[in-house]
Symmetry: C2
Subunit: 511 residues, 2 copies
Amino acid sequence: MNKIKTALISVSDKRNLQNLLSVLRKYDIKIISSGGTFREIKKLGFNCIEVSKFTEFPEILDGRVKTLHPKIHGGILSKRGNKKHSKEVRDNNLENIDLVIVNFYPFEKKIETSSNHNQILENIDIGGPTMVRAAAKNYQDVTVLTSSNQYYDLANQLKKNHGATSLEFRKKMSQSAFTETAYYDSLIANYFNEFTRNSFPQKKIIHSKLIEQLRYGENPHQKSSIYSFGNSLQLKQLNGKQLSYNNFNDIYAALTISKSLPINKGIVIVKHANPCGVSIINNKIKCYQSALACDPISAFGGIVSCNFKINTKLAWELNKIFFEVIIANGFEKKALKILKKKKNLRLIDASTFSFNEKFKINSFNNAILLQEEDQIKFKRNEFKIVSKIKPNNQQMKNLIFAFNICRYVKSNAIVLAHKESTVGIGSGQPSRVDSCQIAINKMKKFVNPLENIIAASDAFFPFVDGVEQLVQAGVKAIIQPSGSINDKKIIKYANDTGTILVFSKTRHFRH
Amino acid sequence: MNKIKTALISVSDKRNLQNLLSVLRKYDIKIISSGGTFREIKKLGFNCIEVSKFTEFPEILDGRVKTLHPKIHGGILSKRGNKKHSKEVRDNNLENIDLVIVNFYPFEKKIETSSNHNQILENIDIGGPTMVRAAAKNYQDVTVLTSSNQYYDLANQLKKNHGATSLEFRKKMSQSAFTETAYYDSLIANYFNEFTRNSFPQKKIIHSKLIEQLRYGENPHQKSSIYSFGNSLQLKQLNGKQLSYNNFNDIYAALTISKSLPINKGIVIVKHANPCGVSIINNKIKCYQSALACDPISAFGGIVSCNFKINTKLAWELNKIFFEVIIANGFEKKALKILKKKKNLRLIDASTFSFNEKFKINSFNNAILLQEEDQIKFKRNEFKIVSKIKPNNQQMKNLIFAFNICRYVKSNAIVLAHKESTVGIGSGQPSRVDSCQIAINKMKKFVNPLENIIAASDAFFPFVDGVEQLVQAGVKAIIQPSGSINDKKIIKYANDTGTILVFSKTRHFRH
């Protein structure tokens, strides 16, 4: 193990610098630095050689060129045990640099807080990543640190190894270093791609930050973690056990639907990533009761998402049944107290949650399927009424409500609705007739006989049979995309039976 | 627009170099280069200044330090319209570099072809990415090329702009450049992470290459593309229309199941990413007929995956029904000819396809859920027989077959099987009883009454009701994970009715 004699420090994040410097001084490590870091080190009362003095070349171009010099990079990149390298180091009056401590210009923070393109450009660090990459490549001889969180580990290493670091430690630091440079350039690449609206570049780099390691994935034998493109998930857990993979999967399914509903309105109950009851009735209690009534058996152990703030009355009501998770746009103080009585019940405040990502990523073995989210906003006048009988205002509103829910049900999807609530959901079937049957069965099982039921289908009916089933079960109005060779027969059947038929034209598969 | 006067060239990929040099000569562009590129340029008969002559500093450390010099980086990074910068360029005897053409040491190729860690380390390019990043940052004044595919565009630019390039072009090239550096460092970071077996690093960078832009995503209003972690999808399309998003989704669902079956055995029919019929009968025709019989209505317009080479006889049989895609481990020549009669039928040779990726990626808004694939291999002695009646050899084989299929059916999943074929599949239900009912209904609808039906469930039965339904429908043996508080009741019910009951202990949700 080689003792560390010389360190180069250049940090944007100046936290813990004093501690670090004290440790380095203890082991008589010479420090080279420049710019703001140099000034800070001097201010803290430590010895330091300025880079320009070390390289005998001035800092130029407003700091754009400081460390891009062979005296720096020769010092970092020379192989210590290699005779040729050692000779070249001597011949060219170089000096080995054993420790590189660098973090980069805060590009990520800059793009979050500024829209000034030139200022953002200035925050693309060139010298920093070069030193880090050089040191990381030469980790067999050089230690590289890229975060102030690593100072403590370095101190331990130096203590344990009497002023040196172990190969294993250096390799681990090198791994972190390349992760940092890759992450940094991914940020820049994505910034440029957004800038030029290039959604599908030849090479796609997706960068994310670890939020937490989960207990396991969909099943206990699968390891899993959750990452974020941002700094947080915008979900605040207020109570209960750690969220599981399946919880997250369900939470996102629930929130996707909730956030598609009118502002501050509606309850969605989700089980296994499929909605099993949705309502947008104004009265919160009635809204919940209606959503629950759609399939109270499936709702057991499910996830409830309230697109509003939960009040005391609703909290009491919710507490009557076992749910895994309750999500809301906030909780009234007393309501939270009531719900917290169940120690394990996961409570999620999603009031700061918003949908920003336009794209959905799905991997399969060595492939990634990337697609835009299905984010079309429905407009009433874009739907085509094709039956003789026209829907009234209330019916049209219900049709749009049901069709919107339909797009979030796994295909093939049939949603039956009545008075701003679902009353039967058929999902996940390879055949549309089967989805119709499932929706009808659920309605018959759980909901009292109703007038004025409406139905929505995520894709066209290939034959009349599904429509027949629905009408025979009491459905009075149907919305579906159209596009089948049997469309005319279906229109005829609707007219023959006095059924309202609306064509949406847009299909909404979700597999 | 500034004329390009000086170019720096350093390329590992030397294709099209002659053409490029001819273009540069036409516009009197001075060339700086080093190492292998310098020698190649001289060999091709063009003028070129060596980097070490330009910087007045020798190339040292076996080429590790060549271009990391302020004369290079000052020349790239100076802002041309900035008086202070211009003065510093003059004072320090620098010379502006207007064009940077660099591609990197072939790290990706090296990790594909070598396992020598030190050789791989040597292929981490330090100088190249630094020049590219500097030029890309300063795109307002400098043009950067990172691929030989861009030479033609440069030639057009120079022609159109009389020896200059447009700002728009330079920005586009800069975007490509950062994509390249991000991709390059992602490769290195992942190499180091694999090296240290770090599956869930603090920052995760996923890199992939565009395979093709798809016509659209799950629905026509969603844009979509398919990317690969490797260089290809390992799928060879031999006939038919372009594959769609939903085709790919179904193909991967089908292949996941096919590749889990015994080698060169079995047919899987998939519709909407769910299997609607699977058989592993040895005889290829019978195998197909059995898979189809499970749900011939859903199979219509679905995807067939044969885990073997398709022969003439099977080709004739397959041609009787409309499928979107047929996948096989190869096609006999005559069989291919028969199938190709249907011009639109997509035929996929998956004989080189193999599952390598251990992880599955799923994004939701600003989050990524990352989990290991469910890849447990089932071993007979790991299952626990809990009923008084024990399964015979054939029954146990069928139980394992059904349980394996079960894990690929969207949850909640119930699979009924008979003689190495599925005879009823219930999928995508929030309630397990409903999945049982769907599976039973399908069996009753499509398959003749059978003896010795067995059933598999992807997760435990929460109550006895589902088991009751199955037994009443004629099921003689059931496999399920166990873990319910009602397990004892279920065992008692099994014993009371003379049903075989096996506990797998592993759960297999797939939502």
